[in-house]
Symmetry: C2
């Protein structure tokens, strides 16, 4: 029996999957943030080890014939951390280390050429040829870019709410949701000042406001709808900057969750073959199997299907 | 003899001035950051006390008939801190607490109606009528607004440098200055990644890059010139959103220093009476004297002139 293992180490959640050669999922594990840039290499390594151990539970790790780890912003130092984690889990060879866009693209399509548009907290697009990245757009981080991603949406929504409060407006879905998010009450100008200070003091709370913006847009708030429209426009532009041929895979929480951003991006990219990446860990596992399968395209659907977990 | 005291407590520097009723400067003091929102009330109070004590050195504080403190983002709690500082310095009455825009406007003009456009690290405009603020634009902080201010310019310049590095470009004034600012070397993509991480980890270093952007623009860098043009456009738009009548006072380091931003804003606001605020502490001192002077307009020039300090 031959096994393949894949890890998708995200800024919020780390997922690991183990598959048989025919694509049957045999194990799965979930842990906290596994992004070394955000949380440090040690904490990320610990999260990845936890997810991988859970995915391997009850399986013989020496049967793993190939493995891939998808990690955004990893460096050589972190490759060393992963070698230690893999050895501790009993795997005989270290993983191939790729980016978050690689596993997201593989989770959406087996096509060798195409584009992934990834929007979670951040936002980036990558073009692939022969399953390898050939061009990237955006991905510049929350301070400088990531246009249309979760942080960007949260920040733009908070900005609109603060502007409305500065004009003395205290009603409407967006202003009310943002005020509640920051637990501010009272006169609108004071609320606005406190929201500005709280958001600056803890930027991580900004991305957490993104779902409120889409909720307010769905409730008919015109300011929130404007933010959603602009986010979708920027995301589609990011994809169009690199896309040449093949399908476009939509990945990341902002684009895989049903909602106004996904709907607007889908409309803007109308005419392209649009696919959705549901499970980056399965994509990573399929990438690990890619060169060892007789018919990798046929196996892809079994690897990445949103199936029941074999074990809970 | 009657004295007036003024304090301009900024995010970088705190200045205090003591004047005679005819506007003669009798004392001056300088200390570090005095902005409670940025540094906390205790540190800000300590800086303000240091500047005020130096300004009062050799003078009888009981002769101070009026005083004004200009502090951005102060609240009731900080008013209490200032009362303690004033009492500790021997003044018989607490200061009138106003905003940073009030003292900047007063430093530029004695006119009761007009506008101040303030661009230091942040950026805001305020309209005045009868020496009181009647409308404000921007001032939303580095995360949400302050468009065209020092942080905004630094961030936009770093973004342009990172985009150039992402395209493999390593030459040109802006890319070279930004690379040196963050002490990054080597391959362009790696440099770009490290600049993004360093800027996000310590946003205060972003505003410090603003002078590099204007330097690169002056050296003919087209990306830096684009940032300067856009910063000036946004600053002029901020002023135009509130301006109705009277002069426009240019204030803050970005607008008072000779350079491409000041030149571009001056050109965009052509047709208005443009004045420059040089010394916010003197403006605060003049505001303290305003209701007690027989001819406040005539005294203004003596209060705010960039005169020699009477004592070092």
């Amino acid at each position: 029996m031959t096994l393949f293992a894949g890890v998708d180490a995200g800024g919020t959640t780390t997922r690991a999957a183990v598959h048989a050669a025919d694509g049957t999922r045999l194990g799965y594990g979930v842990a906290g943030p596994g992004n070394p840039a955000a949380r440090g290499a040690a904490a990320a390594g610990t999260a990845i080890e936890r997810a991988l151990r859970d995915a391997l539970d009850g399986l013989d790790p020496s049967l793993v014939a190939g493995s891939v780890a998808g990690v955004a912003g990893a460096d050589e130092h972190f490759a060393g951390t992963l070698r230690q984690v893999w050895a501790a889990c009993g795997l005989t060879a270290p993983p191939r280390l790729v980016g978050d866009v690689d596993v997201a693209y593989a989770a959406g399509t087996p096509a060798p050429s195409g584009t992934v548009l990834l929007a979670g907290t951040g936002a980036a697009a990558a073009r692939f040829a022969r399953h390898a990245v050939t061009d990237v757009a955006d991905g510049l981080g929350w301070l400088l870019g990531d246009e249309g991603g979760g942080f960007w949406i949260g920040r733009a929504g908070i900005r609109e709410a603060v502007r409305a409060l500065d004009r003395g407006l205290t009603s409407g879905p967006l202003v009310e949701l943002v005020s509640a998010h920051f637990a501010v009450t009272g006169a609108p100008r004071r609320r606005a000042d406190r929201v500005v200070r709280l958001a600056q003091a803890e930027p991580t709370v900004v991305a957490a406001a993104a779902p409120l913006v889409t909720e307010a847009a769905a409730a008919g708030d015109p300011r929130a709808a404007g933010v959603v429209t602009e986010a979708a426009r920027r995301l589609a532009a990011t994809a169009n900057r690199v896309h040449r041929e093949g399908p476009i895979v939509l990945a990341g929480g902002v684009l895989t969750a049903d909602g106004p951003v996904r709907a607007a991006v889908t409309a803007l990219l109308d005419g392209h073959e649009l696919l959705t990446a549901r499970d980056g860990a399965a994509g990573a596992s399929w990438l690990a199997a890619l060169d060892r399968l007789p018919d990798p395209l046929a196996a892809h659907a079994r690897f990445v299907r949103a199936g029941e977990r074999v074990r809970p």
